[in-house]
């Protein structure tokens, strides 16, 4: 059910681990669903004085697809300008992995959300104005998180 590319990234994920003093951190997902992604970013400036993803790392709790998409998204956005990084779509991640099983598509969405959250966190820490697209996506993530947390509370523990 998993492509060779998915298995390759899963078995040897790129850019994993914690980052010391990250410029931004994005935390998405929920233990109840079985997928949690944390993305750390360091932002730098290129020759054109544009901000870009200088370094990126992830930590993921989840299935094969969750780990593979985490690895792939970090590969895809590393070195890209913030704008270009955020334009990486779930379909681009899926295609780069030679496809995902239909029930695992949400992992690719989670990966784009994690990156968006990390950028949002960076901009917020910088006390900068948050572009509306990032803000809108952040609000969606926040809402989903709330629903999940509520669900989690109702679970027996």
């Amino acid at each position: 059910m998993y492509s060779q590319k998915v298995l390759k990234h899963f078995q040897n994920p790129h850019n994993y681990g914690e980052m010391k003093n990250p410029d931004g951190v994005g935390r998405v997902g929920n233990l109840v669903c079985g997928d949690v992604m944390w993305v750390y970013v360091k932002i730098g400036k290129n020759k054109k004085k544009e901000e870009y993803i200088k370094d990126i790392k992830f930590k993921t709790y989840g299935c094969t697809a969750a780990i593979a998409t985490s690895s792939m998204v970090t590969d895809l956005v590393k070195g890209k300008t913030i704008q270009k990084a955020l334009s990486v779509s779930k379909n681009e991640i899926i295609d780069s992995l030679d496809g995902l099983p239909p029930i695992k598509i949400h992992c690719s969405i989670l990966a784009t959300e994690a990156l968006n959250e990390a950028i949002y966190d960076y901009l917020k820490k910088q006390k900068r104005e948050i572009p509306s697209a990032i803000l809108a996506k952040h609000k969606t993530s926040e809402k989903e998180q709330e629903i999940l947390d509520k669900k989690h509370k109702n679970c027996r523990s």
Binding site: Y16, C33, Y61, G62, I67, R156
Partner: protein, 388 residues
């Protein structure tokens, strides 16, 4: 797969390789002794003779009469026949059915389907170890109760249920008692008379027999409707041309398992306990799911903190090790195991669980390999996990 890739199989509860002895007994029934047992000519009569012998072999193992054995295609079919067949045939007596909340999906979903047909179902709770309590059953029984179905042992956590006491209670209350023995037939001695079992499900492929062959024991006097109508084979309870290679394979595998039962159980229980001990010693933050002693001799089910089970399974798979999370049937679903959740585990605990099941061919060398591969995989995934 690379040429030197070696498979380490630890998923015997999911399915088993057919024993070579079983294969050779089955072989002639594909193309030499291929007769239809319903045919009147000599090839048919010969097949019928063998069918009767196979029925006797199975009946003897569980202390039933041959005419009480109905050959089917799978444990799923047997369970469907037991639940739907008994419910349908006894609806004039009542519409209430009791099952446990940790039954296999084929029992659960048959019960759910019956709910849509006007039956009401009580799902009995289990404790942390997966045990059903007699008192809960007593309380759940109503005047309208017609059937109780509680599995002999659970397929995921291996907990063995007190079916003798349950059978005794059901008999006293005049309620039919069905047990899904897919995980125990050939592994635990079953006496349907002594245990007051009215219906029992078992399958060949769990005991080194072929896939596509199973049976349902139906005690004489149990009112039951068939699911399949046609040529009225199997006492008109299961119309279909009998799968002769499958039936012969089932009987041969069952006889072999019965013969080896004591020896195999002793060997596997020892391996199981040593492996549990070694894993808990070598890997931090591991807990055992299920019951410490009322447990199938080949079942280990563990939960690993801060790890998701599917990724652990896939990482072990890359090292040649076959294990499962919950049951193989649920691997296409995203929800945590209903068995583990019913035991009161939190979803993240259930997600982090892994089933290791031993079998006839498990060696100490394989166990040692598994131990090393497991420790390595857990370490790797915990390095990736934000929670460890």
């Amino acid at each position: 797969m690379p040429l030197n890739f070696k498979t380490y199989y630890f998923d015997y509860a999911s399915t088993t390789p057919v024993d070579p002895k079983v294969v050779s007994v089955m072989a002639p029934y594909f193309n030499k002794k291929f007769g239809n047992p319903n045919s009147l000519h000599h090839l048919g009569r010969e097949a019928n003779q063998v069918l009767m012998q196979s029925r006797e072999t199975i009946a003897k193992i569980i202390q039933a009469s041959p005419e009480e054995i109905i050959f089917t295609s799978s444990a799923t079919e047997s369970n469907n026949l037991a639940l739907k067949g008994v419910a349908w045939a006894n609806k004039n007596r009542g519409n209430h059915i009791i099952i446990s909340s940790i039954e296999h999906d084929c029992v659960l979903n048959s019960a759910r389907w019956l709910e849509g047909q006007g039956f009401s179902v009580t799902y009995l709770p289990v404790n942390r170890e997966g045990l059903v309590f007699l008192n809960d059953l007593k309380k759940a029984i109503k005047p309208q109760t017609i059937l109780v179905s509680i599995m002999h042992a659970n397929n995921e956590i291996g907990t063995i249920e007190p079916i003798e006491a349950i059978g005794d209670l059901c008999r006293k209350k005049n309620i039919f008692f069905h047990t899904d023995a897919a995980q125990t037939f050939g592994k635990i001695s079953i006496d349907v008379r002594k245990m007051n079992i009215d219906l029992l499900t078992a399958s060949a492929h769990k005991i080194y027999g072929p896939k596509g062959s199973a049976f349902l024991y139906v005690r004489k006097g149990v009112k039951i409707e068939p699911l399949l109508h046609g040529g009225e084979q199997e006492s008109a309870l299961r119309s279909s041309t009998v799968n002769m290679p499958g039936v012969v394979g089932l009987a041969t595998a069952a006889a072999l398992s019965q013969k080896l039962m004591k020896k195999e159980n002793a060997k596997m229980a020892k391996m199981r306990d040593q492996l549990i001990k070694a894993i808990c010693k070598n890997i931090p933050s591991v807990s055992l799911n299920g019951h410490p002693t009322k447990r199938l001799s080949n079942n280990i089910n563990l939960r690993f903190k801060a790890i998701e089970g599917e990724s652990l399974l896939m990482l072990l798979d890359a090292a040649g090790v076959c294990v499962s999370t919950g049951s193989a049937c649920s691997s296409a679903k995203l929800t945590a195991s209903h068995v583990l959740l019913s035991c009161g585990l939190r979803p993240e605990e259930a997600h982090g669980s892994l089933r290791i099941t031993l079998g006839r061919h498990t060696t100490n060398q394989e166990i040692n390999y598994l131990l090393k591969a497991l420790a390595k995989a857990v370490k790797k995934l915990r390095n990736l996990s934000p929670y460890f």
